[in-house]
Amino acid sequence: MAVPVNATRGQHVWYWCLRLICATGFIFLIGPIVIIVPISFSSGSFLSYPLPGFSMRWYDAVVEPFPWMFALENSLIVATTVTVVATALGTLAAYGLTRADFPGKPLVFGLLISPLAVPLVITALGLYFFFARIGLVQTHIGLIIAHVVLAVPFVVITVSATLKGFDWNLVRAAESLGAPPLAAFFQVTLPLILPGVLAGAVFAFVTSLDEVIVALFLSGPAQLTLPRQLFTGLRDQLDPSIVAIATLLIAFSIALLVVVEVLQWRSARQRSARAD
C-alpha cells in the first residue's frame, strides 16, 4: 500500500498517521522481547542500560542444577507426556468428529473445546478438589492429566481443520483395495494429515510448557516447573538469571514459530492442491 500519486494533503496526513500508529504497535509488541535479550549478557546485576560489560555469568546460574535445570527437566517430562497423550486422544476424536455425523455432535465438540473458555483459575481449583479426593495432588501424573485437559482442545481444533480438506475417497479406495481400517488410517490418512497433527502437537507442547496457574495449584516442590519458578522469581527477587532463562525461552519460541509456519504452509499447500 502506497500513497497514490494524486493523493490530497489530507490523504497524506492520514497515510502517515496510520503508519505512525502501526509503527508504535509493532514496536510495542516486539520491543520488550528484543530489549531484554542483551541484558542477559550483562556483567552487572542491574536490569538496565547501559550495560557495564559482557559476561555469561547469568547463564552459569541458569545451568546450575537447582532451581532452573530441575524445573526445566520437570517441565520437559510433563510437556512431552502431555503432548503424546493429548495428540493421540485429540487426533482420534477429531477423526471421529469429521468422519460422520452422530446425534449431539455440536454439543460434544463444544464440550471438548470448553477448557479453552473456562478461566484457568476455575479449572485449576476444580481439578485441585478432584485430585485432592483421589490423591493426585502434588504428583507428576496429576499435573500431566491437568495439562492434557488444557492442551487437547488445540489438537482437536487443529486436526479438525486439517481434516476438513481431506478427501475421504482415498480411505474408501484403500479399503476397497482390502486395507483394514487401522491400516488405512496409518498408511493413508495419517501421512496426509500429518502437518495438522504435528501443529496440534506443538500447540499441546507449548500449552503445557507455558502453563503456570494450574501448576501453582496442583504441584508440590517435586513438580517445580519452569513457569512456576519464573513466577516465584518475578514475585520474590528479580535477578538477571530470570532474564537469561527468558532469553533462552525466546530463542525456543522463534524455533517453534519457524516449525509451525512450515507445518501450516505445507498443510495449506495440501488444501489448495485439493481445491484445484
Binding site: M1, W14, T24, F26, F28, L29, I30, P32, I33, I36, L47, S48, L89, G90, L92, A93, L97, R99, A100, D101, P103, V108, L111, S114, A117, V118, P119, L120, V121, I122, T123, L125, G126, F129, F130, I145, V149, V156, V171, R172, E175, A199, F203, V206, L209, D210, V212, I213, F217, L230, F231, L234, R235, I242, V243, A246, L249, S253, L257, E261
Partner: protein
C-alpha cells in the same frame, strides 16, 4: 469405510429397493457409531476430569454441611426454631452437650469457622466456650452458658446458628453479589464492610473493557497494514505479531517488569532524556496492568482480523472511491462491514481471556488492580472459604458464558489461523 455396496444396481424396482434402503440406513448407523466410538475416549476423559470437577466445584457454593455434621441435633433444633426470641432450655442443653463432645473430638473448629462467616468473632467465642465447657455441670444450661459468655444470650448469635444449620445455603451466592438473607428470610443489602464483590466484578469488566479498547485502537490499523502491504512486508509484519504470540506469557511479563520498574529501562530513558524529573510509577498500579495485558492480548485481536482482511480485495476501496465516495464513507460502508466478523470474534476472544486474567495483575498490579480470578484464588488458598471461592467462580463463569454464544456465532463463518 462402509461405502454402500451394490449402489450401482439401485435401479431394480420393488422390495429390493427397500432392502437396499434398509442396508444403507444400517451402514449409516454403523458409520455414526464408529465415529462416536472414536470420540468416546476423549469425551469420557473430559467429562471425568474436567466437566465433573468443575460442576462439583460449583456445588460448593450451595453446599453447607459443616455445622450439621459437627452438631447435628443443635442444627435440627434451631432449624425448627422460628428465630423470633431466644430458644428454650432444650436448645441450650443440646448445644452444651454437642460443644462438649465436639471439643473433645477436636471437630468443633470446623463448625466454629462456619459460624464465623455469619458474625466475625463467633469462632473465638465458640472455641473459648469449648475450653470452659467443663465448668457447666448441670442444668439450667441456659443460665450457665450465658454465664460463660453473655453473647449466648444475644439473639443475633442464635440466628447465625440457624442460618448455618444447612444442609444447603444461598449465603455464598448472595454474598457474591453483595446481598444477604436476613433471619426472617428476606433478602437485603449486605453490611458495607462486606460489599466488595460487586466492586471486583465491575473492576474486572472495566479493566477488560479498556484493554479491549486499546487492542482495537492499535490492532485494527496493524491488521489493516499487514493485510494491505506487499507480500514480503506482510510476511515480516505478521512474524512481528506471531513472535510475541508464541513467547511464554511469563517471559513477556518478566520483560515488562524489567522495563517498567522504578529503576527500569523506561524510567532511566525518561530521566536521561530529561523528560521527567523523578521516576514515574509504572508498576504495581493500573498503568502497568493495562500495558502488560494489552501486550499479551493484542495478537488475539490482530490475527482473526488479519484473517478476514486479507480476503477483502483492495480494488473494492478503489471502486468506491471512483464512484465518488470520500475515503471515510468508503471505509465505513465498504471496508468496515466486511471486517466485522473478524473484529467481533477477536473482540470477544480478547474480552473473554481478559476476564479470567490472574498472573499478570498478580505480578504487575497492586492491591487495587486485582480481578475476580484473584479473589477466587485468595478464598480458596488463603482463607479456605470454598463456598465463597465457588460462588465467585460462578459469577466469573456466568460472565464468560454470556459472551460465549456470541463468539460461537461469529466464528462459525470464518476460521482462525494461529500460526
Amino acid at each position: 469405510m462402509n461405502a454402500p455396496a451394490g449402489i450401482a444396481d439401485g435401479r431394480k424396482a420393488g422390495p429390493a429397493d427397500r432392502s437396499l434402503e434398509a442396508k444403507l440406513r444400517r451402514a449409516e448407523r454403523r458409520r455414526s457409531l464408529n465415529a462416536f466410538l472414536l470420540v468416546a475416549p476423549l469425551l469420557a476423559f473430559i467429562v471425568v476430569v474436567f466437566a465433573g470437577p468443575i460442576l462439583s466445584l460449583l456445588y460448593f457454593s450451595v453446599d453447607d454441611p459443616k455445622l450439621a455434621e459437627v452438631m447435628p441435633r443443635t442444627a435440627q433444633i434451631v432449624d425448627a426454631w422460628d428465630g423470633a426470641e431466644l430458644p428454650g432450655e432444650e436448645a441450650y442443653a443440646t448445644l452444651v452437650e454437642e460443644i462438649r463432645t465436639a471439643y473433645k473430638a477436636r471437630t468443633v473448629a470446623a463448625a466454629a469457622m462456619r459460624l464465623n462467616y455469619e458474625i466475625s468473632g463467633f469462632r473465638s467465642m465458640v472455641m473459648r466456650t469449648g475450653r470452659k465447657i467443663r465448668r457447666i455441670t448441670g442444668p439450667p444450661y441456659k443460665e450457665a452458658l450465658i454465664g460463660l459468655d453473655e453473647r449466648w444470650g444475644d439473639l443475633a448469635y442464635w440466628r447465625a446458628i440457624k442460618a448455618s444449620a444447612g444442609p444447603y445455603t444461598t449465603r455464598y451466592l448472595l454474598a457474591a453479589v453483595d446481598l444477604q438473607r436476613k433471619w426472617d428470610g428476606s433478602i437485603g443489602a449486605a453490611p458495607p464492610e462486606r460489599t466488595i464483590y460487586i466492586d471486583y466484578l465491575k473492576r474486572t469488566f472495566w479493566i477488560s473493557f479498556w484493554v479491549l479498547a486499546c487492542c482495537i485502537a492499535i490492532g485494527y490499523p496493524m491488521a489493516f497494514l499487514i493485510a494491505t502491504s506487499g507480500k514480503r512486508w506482510s510476511r515480516f509484519l505478521l512474524v512481528l505479531v506471531l513472535l510475541p504470540f508464541w513467547t511464554s506469557l511469563l517471559v513477556r511479563t518478566a520483560a515488562w517488569v524489567v522495563l517498567l520498574q522504578n529503576e527500569g529501562i523506561i524510567n532511566d530513558f525518561l530521566l536521561y532524556g530529561g523528560i521527567v524529573d523523578e521516576p514515574l510509577t509504572l508498576i504495581f498500579n493500573r498503568t502497568g496492568v493495562y500495558i502488560a495485558m494489552v501486550h499479551i492480548l493484542l495478537p488475539f485481536l490482530v490475527l482473526p482480523l488479519y484473517a478476514v482482511m486479507r480476503n477483502i480485495p483492495a480494488s473494492q476501496m478503489r471502486a468506491a472511491a471512483s464512484l465518488g465516495a470520500r475515503p471515510v464513507a468508503a471505509f465505513l460502508s465498504v471496508y468496515l462491514p466486511q471486517t466485522l466478523p473478524g473484529l467481533g470474534a477477536g473482540c470477544i476472544l480478547v474480552f473473554i481471556l481478559a476476564l479470567g486474567f490472574y498472573i499478570t495483575p498478580a505480578l504487575i498490579g497492586g492491591a487495587a488492580d486485582q480481578m475476580l480470578s484473584y479473589l477466587i484464588a485468595e478464598f480458596a488458598t488463603r482463607t479456605g472459604n470454598w463456598g465463597m471461592a465457588s460462588a465467585i467462580a460462578i459469577l466469573l463463569l456466568l460472565s464468560v458464558a454470556a459472551l460465549y454464544p456470541v463468539y460461537r456465532g461469529l466464528v462459525r463463518g470464518g476460521t482462525f489461523r494461529f500460526g
